[in-house]
């Protein structure tokens, strides 16, 4: 039976805890720890994503479920995930497993002009599709009311249409769950850190049914410090302008401290402090800013207009970047020392804040809620 825990036979001692939908609700949803990655959605008739929330429509009485195992806020064994994805122990440092860090940008100015920073994600995802490395990409797209959701792209035009971020949490992996059972063979996913954790959980899952995660050939991770709750935030925005007019969001680098909303004709600047109350509580307990379990991770290059920071983590990631560079799809440049130092500092700060929040919730540094970390790792992050 698909949902039976195949406990025996695994060589590693490490394993993910296997529980069911009831525990997912009590441990994650009821505690407001859901990051809305979408990993629990699209596999059963019970859990659905609706306007920024995961909703259990009925009570599922199965004692074990993929929903619980895939969730990045249950029993997160970082060492197991690191072994599963990279074949090495969890680094427990600022940036996780790193082969190379550089600045990068798309060579195509058309891509760059529509993208958040240097267009590297759009360029690499399109390239991976062109090269047949993947045959489809799971991306995030927003509807006319800025409600984001996962979508499957199988051509570069579709990929380009998904460029940009609206900083609102999206259940993107619901699309992976939905599509991986269909007639696609090589899937790439552009994922936030919590989504990369969920995809790593799928790979490490002891359940027999792992959602055809073997079809997952490429994970492009996105740097992320927080994401917003859709419903409240959309209501907040709708008081300022019709949601349908919005074409793009941006957060310019510090010290601007503003959230920008673009329409075709105007720009509205909202103080970031007015936006922060809409951050999902689940982001407060997150310790992954740079998508540490992706093949490559991409984010802003602070202070360098039009460029991304690019972290190559896996061999697959390295091969993709090298091929894209060789074909002139992207160009790279060394990341300035100061930028790297800043990146590490910011990432460590996120880990520290997340851990402190976790300890504040549980009241003990022996109980890390959903995290499985050695005490040395905890000490390292907190010191």
């Amino acid at each position: 039976m698909a949902n039976d825990y195949q406990g025996g036979g695994r060589e590693q001692e490490m394993s993910l805890e296997v529980k069911g939908c009831r525990e997912l609700q009590s441990e994650v949803l009821a505690r407001d720890l859901c990051s809305l990655c979408g990993a629990c959605v699209g596999m059963c008739p019970y859990l659905v994503a609706y306007r920024g929330r995961v909703v259990a429509l009925d009570e599922c009485n199965l004692p074990q479920g993929r929903c619980y195992v895939f969730c990045p806020r249950t029993s997160l064994d970082l060492d197991l995930l690191s072994h599963t994805v990279f074949g090495v122990a969890y680094a427990a440092d600022e940036l996780g497993t790193v082969q190379e860090i550089a600045m990068a940008r798309a060579r195509d100015e058309g891509i760059r002009s529509k993208a958040q920073f240097g267009g590297t994600v759009t360029a690499l995802a399109s390239f991976a599709l062109d090269q047949g490395l993947i045959d489809s990409a799971v991306l995030t797209a927003s509807d006319e009311n800025t409600l984001p959701s996962g979508t499957l792209a199988d051509n570069t035009a579709q990929i380009r249409a998904c460029a940009g971020s609206n900083f609102v949490a999206a259940p993107t992996l619901a699309a992976f769950n939905r599509e991986s059972g269909r007639d696609v063979q090589r899937i790439g996913v552009v994922a936030t850190p919590c989504q990369t954790l969920a995809l790593a959980n799928m790979r490490a899952s002891p359940l027999e049914n792992r959602n055809n995660v073997d079809k997952l050939k490429l994970v492009i991770g996105l740097f992320c410090t927080w994401a917003l709750r859709y419903e409240d935030f959309a209501r907040f925005l709708a008081d300022k302008l019709p949601l349908r007019q919005i074409v793009r969001f941006d957060i310019p680098p510090p010290p601007a401290n503003i959230f920008q909303v673009f329409t075709d004709s105007t720009r509205i600047d909202i103080p970031l402090d007015q936006v922060r109350p809409f951050i999902r509580p689940a982001c407060d307990v997150c310790i992954d800013m740079t998508a540490e379990f992706a093949d490559i991770s991409v984010g802003a290059a602070e202070g360098v207009q039009g460029w991304n920071t690019l972290i190559i983590r896996s061999n697959a990631g390295r091969e993709l970047v090298e091929a894209a560079r060789a074909k002139g799809v992207i160009e790279t440049a060394p990341l300035p020392e100061q930028n790297l130092a800043h990146l590490k500092e910011a990432s460590l700060l996120k880990k520290r804040r997340g851990l402190k929040k976790v300890i504040e919730i549980t009241g003990s540094d022996q109980d890390l809620l959903y995290l499985k970390l050695t005490s040395e790792a905890v000490k390292g992050f907190l010191s």
């Binding site: 039976m1 059963c44 019970y46 929330r53 909703v55 429509l57 199965l62």
Partner: protein, 638 residues
Amino acid sequence: MTSITAYEPGASQLLMGNEAIARGALEAGLGFACAYPGTPSSEIIGSLAEVAREMDIYVEWSVNEKVALEAAAAASFAGVRAIVAMKQNGLNVASDFLMTLNLTGTNAGLVLVLCDDPAALSSTNEQDSRLIAKWADLPLLEPATFQEAKDMTKWAFELSEEIKNVCLIRSVTRVSHARGDVRLGEPMPPSRAARFAPTTLGQFTPMFVPPKHSLLHQKLNKAREIFESSPFNWYTGPEKPELLIVTCGSGWYYSLEAVKTLGLESSVGILKLGTTWPLPEKLVQQHLARTDKVLVVEEVDPFLEGNLKELVGDTFSALGPLTFYGKRSGHLPSFGELDPDRVVGAVSSVLGRERVAVDPDYAKKAQALTGGLVQARMIGFCPGCPHRATLWSVKNALKLDGRGGFVTGDIGCYTMGLGPTGFFQLKTVQAMGSGTGLACGFGKLGKLGFSQPVLAVCGDSTFFHAAIPALINGVYNQSNFTLIILDNSATAMTGFQPHPGTGASALGEPAPKVDLEGLCGSLGVRVEVADPFDLQDTTHKLLDLIQDDGGVRVLISRRKCALVRAREEKAAYKVRVDSEKCLGESCGCARLCTRVFQCPGLVWDSDSQTARIDEVICSGCGVCADICPASAIIREVA
């Protein structure tokens, strides 16, 4: 069901209690009958409707009990004998009119039949409606047998005309719905000289109230005198019984059986009263004087018991010490339904004899006898019921909305929405239309911190009966809720009687059809119509209405009752489970169709470990095909 006029006068026929009541009315020369359907009263007007054309009398399904009583009173005022029947809850609706009608009095015989539902087998309460007799100072008859049900009804018209007031008859489920032999009389044609002609100023008004109130008491006293020699009261047993059972209605058969079971015919007497208000005091006193122990056996409240004690209190010096047993002493329950076993227990306990109880294994043995022939199934919606589909969408819409929205309900088949087959959606159930009234109140609590969406549900018949004033109240007072009218085009729970929205009269003739959309629309509210079998569209519309905060909104969820559909048309789909596609336990759906959706047409086959369709009862609605995540339920156009 054979028509109640199909039998020859003088013949002895097996009749349902309610048919006997209807036949009694025909034998009294009934001209006018009306009611709002309500279990266990519905067959009285139902069987009269069937013979209305043949007898050339007027029969209607009224919009509610108050209007029914008012219409029947008009017939009485105009010199035509009339009958009204209602269940106990219906009396509450009619009582506003009744509590003044008693003062104004009547002209031609007017009989009000109250059918109580002890144990609330098909009700939301088990109120004892006999108390209205005392409250309204009206005479009350309680038939104990099917013969009495007919004879008393016939005589009730005469009594009503004698005292010029309403005569009450109280039946219970086991009299109304059981069958027994009835010796029949001759049906009589009604008076065809209907004319409203008051003989005194203010005859049909309560003016002036105190003298009319006094007159009402005089009428009641007259009834008491008549009751002293009524053939509906009798005694069986020894001259000086060790224990006197005083009983009425269905309690009489139970008492008879108990005494026989215990072999106490020589020591226990039974005074059976058919005229329970006002009490025939002299008759009762005669019997009380011959014993010192009295057990009162009656359904629901200690009504007779209390009245007997009142009487003893008035005449204590004459009667001497008496010990009463019954509901007040705890020998019989004042809730739920009586049965012979309970009476055996009470008599045994009073006389200190060993109780002869029903075989403790009776239930087990009965179960063994029926074997696998009867599927164990809890009370719930029928296969293909549109309410299940509507409530599925309601459940999903409220879950998705996520603001703690809830459903206020009322009375109808959809009351079962409070249970598993309605996904526990109804959170309140009281009176007809009260879900909408409650919604009015909930929807005005915003000032007091309330922020949950409110959904009221009511059936189409209930809407006409009692929800319209609540809806208008909500509109006028700018409340905030969504009313879902579950329009299944029938008064389904009571037996598919037509109502103002069906386009048919009680006689099955064409009638003007009241337009729900037009009626609601005229109030200026947003009105949507959905087909509950389209789960996606219904959920979508519901979400849109729920989130369209402010004001009153109406969704008409329209699908004909599955049982009516089965009578009128052939099934829309042939439904089957593709056993290749149904993954059973390995699907991960945790048996959504049989465990959560719970249509009785879907069963879990423990042999194949898959779901399957019970073809015998599947109504072919095809809704389950839309909930199966594996698309294993196949619906093909039949």
